[in-house]
């Protein structure tokens, strides 16, 4: 028997079913639990020593016992990340606005923004560490990686203003400042927020890369440095604990920015509006 032909009323688009919401939360948790049980089981069954692969239980207890060291390292990395992110937002949006207002400045500087972006940060970091104090070098790395997505997205947003709305502002005698503030930046907001979401994760990556580069020079205090240090000392459980904290930081940054984006756009932008089907 051949399969029945697909019915037209079965919409191909994804439709939210009543159970979707709890499933979306419960399924990843179930997968996590399963993975951890498997991990713990394998470690116990084969008697794998902790300097090769620590069990999840050991990672957790290390997290608790080493909390003092790890927390101070976490704070260092997070502060760098947030500073880098803040500078990236200011620099990215500021530069995009500047480019938007002056074509000459855009032509002069844009190629260098691209060069800064396409040169791998891992290769730049050691150089920066030579010329800058370590804290500043790490911050510079976080900034370099994070600012470009903000710049590129903001530029796109500023240029995608509805032409008729521009005409309307002209008709009512809007000043340059009003066009920028009331029209262009508001139209660009969804793009800027998308850029921030990318930049948040990237500034963490930039900070970690720079810390690792610094760490291989034997100095530092951030989480990535702890990972390097633990690796040299074969303290693998602490490596995992530090990695876990980095991962959680990334997740928290992402969801915070997603939530911010949702708050700002929920009333008017299609991306943030819940649709009833």
């Amino acid at each position: 028997m051949s399969a029945p032909p697909p019915r037209i009323d079965e919409a191909p688009a994804r439709i939210e079913r009543p159970l979707d919401r709890p499933l979306r939360v419960l399924l990843p948790i179930a997968v996590l639990a399963l993975g951890l049980i498997l991990w713990e089981g394998v470690v116990r069954l084969y008697g794998i020593p902790p300097y090769v692969l620590p069990s999840p239980g050991l990672v957790l207890s290390t997290l608790v016992s080493d909390w003092g060291v790890l927390l101070s390292s976490l704070v260092v990395t997070l502060v760098t990340t947030l500073e880098g992110f803040a500078l990236a937002v200011i620099g990215g949006v500021g530069l995009a606005v500047l480019f938007n207002q002056s074509r000459l400045i855009e032509y002069s500087l844009y190629p260098y923004a691209v060069i800064l972006q396409v040169t791998p940060i891992v290769a730049i970091a050691p150089l920066l560490l030579i010329y800058l104090p370590q804290q500043l070098a790490v911050l510079a790395c976080a900034w370099i990686v994070a600012f470009f997505p903000v710049l590129a997205n903001t530029t796109l947003g500023l240029n995608s203003v509805d032409h008729n709305l521009s005409d309307l502002f002209r008709l009512y005698g809007a000043t340059r400042g009003q066009v920028l503030w009331e029209l262009k930046l508001k139209a660009a907001l969804p793009y800027i927020l998308a850029g921030l979401k990318i930049a948040g994760g990237l500034s963490l990556i930039g900070a970690v890369v720079a810390e690792i580069a610094a760490g291989s020079a034997g100095s530092g205090s951030g989480l990535a440095y702890r990972i390097m240090e633990s690796a040299y000392r074969l303290n693998i459980p602490r490596m995992f604990a530090a990695l876990f904290l980095l991962s959680v930081s990334g997740i928290v940054i992402f969801f915070t920015l997603s939530f911010l984006s949702h708050l700002l756009l929920r009333r008017w932008h299609e991306s943030a509006v819940a649709r009833e089907v």
Binding site: D162, N164, L171, Y172, G173, W268
Partner: protein
């Protein structure tokens, strides 16, 4: 036959705005307008009808000052008012700021002038005129196409301009909504005494709405002929189904066909 209301005097007296020998060619060589002469008289409802690309929208943009003519002049009646001319413009799309509520969209002209303090009663009045008082705090995406266009009209009227320029405002709407907005627009025109220049590609819409129809030739656009629709206002659904209406539509259609042929001959 009852004369039209006081708000719509016959087309006489000195024009509120006049295009004299206006031409417009674009950088890519396209000649959109060629030697256009057009008088718009106070209080009249005039339509520009023509095939797409005949420069009727360009003419409207030149009147609004959004586009500079390549040749010719735009002459305004000296109304003794200082500052930029008070014009209301309604685009083909509603052209609303999606991030602002209906009331904030209508308030925009005042906001740009820094005169928000006194704006509130006028914004409310403008919304009431188009029947959107209950939607002041809604966002554009929550509105239907017709309601968005009403918001756009409210915004155009809120500064109480003498001249209302409309660029195919109802072209994207369904017929039922379009007919309703036609009626509402006529109601507003009669009660407010504005001058309306209405661009459309629909012969039927132009006959229903206007006192005078200017038929334009295809590119380069110039005036082919003018038609006076001497039917009384208020016009309603009875007019839309009358023989008189059908007759004017036939005349206008024939004029448009001839305009297309004459344009094709010269092309």
């Amino acid at each position: 036959m009852p004369q039209t209301s006081a708000a719509s005097p016959s087309a006489s007296g000195s024009p509120i705005v006049a295009l004299r020998d206006v031409g417009k060619s674009f950088a890519n060589g396209v000649v959109a307008l060629d030697r256009l002469d057009l008088d718009v008289h106070p209080g009249e409802f005039v339509s520009l009808v023509g095939p797409s690309g005949c420069g009727k929208s360009t003419a409207l943009r030149i009147i609004a000052g959004l586009s500079a003519p390549s040749r010719g002049t735009v002459e305004w009646a000296d109304d003794g008012e200082a500052g930029p001319r008070r014009i209301g413009f309604v685009f083909q799309e509603p052209t609303l700021m999606p991030w602002a509520t209906v009331a904030d969209n209508v308030r925009l002209p005042f906001k740009l002038k820094g005169a928000t303090a006194t704006a509130q009663p006028r914004v409310e009045a403008a919304l009431a005129r188009v029947g959107l008082s209950d939607f002041a705090d809604s966002y554009p995406r929550e509105l239907s196409g017709g309601m968005k266009m009403r918001t756009s009209i409210a915004r155009a009227l809120v500064t109480e301009p003498k001249l209302l320029l409309m660029d195919e405002p109802f072209a994207a709407l369904d017929e039922i909504t379009r007919f309703r907005l036609n009626n509402d627009l006529l109601g507003l025109w009669q009660s407010l005494g504005k001058t309306v220049v209405f661009v459309t590609h629909s012969v039927f819409e132009s006959v229903y709405l206007s006192q005078r129809i200017v038929v334009m030739t295809p590119r380069p656009g110039r005036i082919f002929t003018e038609l006076v629709v001497d039917a009384s206002y208020p016009r309603d659904e009875r007019f839309r189904t009358s023989a008189e209406y059908a007759g004017y539509c036939r005349q206008a259609s024939e004029a448009l066909s001839s305009a297309m042929i004459s344009g094709a001959d010269e092309a």
